[in-house]
Amino acid sequence: MDTGRVALAVFRKDLVAERRTKEVFTAVLLFGFTVSVAFTFAFEPTSAEARKITGGLLWLAFLFSAVLGLNRAFARETSNQCLQGLRLIPADLGGVYLGKLASNLLFLLLAELVLLPPFGVFFDLTLWARPGWLFLILLLGTWGLAALGTMFSAVSANTRMQELMLPLLLLPLTVPVLIAAIESTVILLEGRPMSEAALWIKLLTGFDIVFTLLCWLLFDYVIQE
């Protein structure tokens, strides 16, 4: 299938480029780390109260660094007009979106996983009690951010204020992801049964599927001339 072939080719290409330069991963990791440190000054990370906000702080750190990472990732495509070059291929371009979504998701997830231990140290959290659930929430939440983020970085690349447009578009539209991810993470950190998070997990999954499909369909319109 054309789309699969294109998506796989784009994904592999992004892997090669990232393995060589490590730009996106480093940017997300360093920025996320800096933001986490800044949070420790702003919020007293002690007592049970902290559990509630650290879930939120974690996802804020992820969100801000994701914006940085997505911008960086897309910058590769705009130099030398590479993205326009992709329009020459004898296939429709939805596959390009899926490939870039997959690579963005991978790099963001890796950076987040590396960010978790220091974050846990700063805020005195036991993160690894239920690693399976933690990973699931991380995956679904980051997928939501990456799905719209990949799309909007393509949109922003076409505007005069590239760096501003991405967060301006991404933040309001990913509010459902943030709320769901934060609530699930708080439930996880507070040691409550994960059945309480069922609704949030469903919302995240629904969001991810709906927007991945929609962005896949609409991507072509964004990179036409």
Partner: protein, 230 residues
């Protein structure tokens, strides 16, 4: 429709809108009964609710215009989407201002994070992002295309934003501005709401058509300028 006919229609709409709004105002303050617990400030509800509904309606028009533009590539749909977005953002602002004005005297706090008000805030931010996107793209065809994509994504997002906020609210309850989901409304109050809605809708339509006409004229000007240079 020629210029003078259009002018007369606009004027007529304006007059109708003003009449409806003024009479709705009168109704809201003189005729409608005073709310039992909240007192006079509750009358702002007659602006708050219709404005909220109109802003959602406007966003729906943005959605329709966006889909129609991508399928037909006729610029008129883009003009409609742009005009609806501007009208919508104005009414969103009205909701976001009237909300705190209501909340403060009644509950002592400026903002309550109830699902509907929060969704309106997010809707406002999405509109603003949409309008800023339009501002920062210079080529008209590209602007129409990109805005259409964002218009579609934004609209699909709104129910999800609302659901997320609703469920969050059930976990962290706090006062709800418009009396919650289940509360009923005195029939006399309903009349006030409908009347106000009619007035605001007429006014919104007027704004919409004026703005649409402005986009059409701008396109005409671009076409003429292009012909002149060739």
């Amino acid at each position: 429709m020629n210029e003078s006919a259009r002018h007369r229609l606009s004027l007529a709409l304006l007059v109708v809108a003003l009449l409806l709004i003024v009479s709705a105002w009168y109704y809201a303050f003189q005729v409608a009964p005073t709310e039992r617990t909240m007192g006079t400030i509750q009358r702002i509800f007659y602006l708050h609710l219709p404005a909220a509904f109109l802003s959602f309606l406007a966003f729906f028009v943005v959605f329709v215009g966006s889909v129609a533009y991508l399928t037909t590539r006729r610029m008129g749909w883009d003009w409609a989407a742009a005009s609806a977005a501007e009208v919508g953002v104005v009414f969103c602002a009205a909701v976001l201002i009237s909300g705190p004005l209501w909340a403060k005297p009644v509950w002592g706090i400026w903002w309550t994070w109830d699902a509907r008000l929060t969704t309106t805030l997010i809707l406002f931010l999405i509109y603003v992002a949409y309008l800023m996107l339009r501002l920062y793209v210079t080529d008209s065809e590209r602007r129409a295309r990109l805005a259409a994509v964002v218009g579609i994504l934004g609209f699909v997002d709104v129910p999800l934003v609302y659901m997320a906020n609703r469920w969050w609210r059930t976990q962290h309850p706090e006062p709800v501005i418009a009396g919650g989901e289940g509360s009923g409304l005195d029939p006399q109050m309903w009349w006030g709401v409908l009347w106000a809605f009619a007035g605001l809708l007429t006014f919104a339509s007027l704004l919409f058509f004026q703005r649409y006409r402005m986009e059409a004229m701008r396109a005409e000007l671009t076409e003429l300028a292009r012909r002149a240079r060739a």
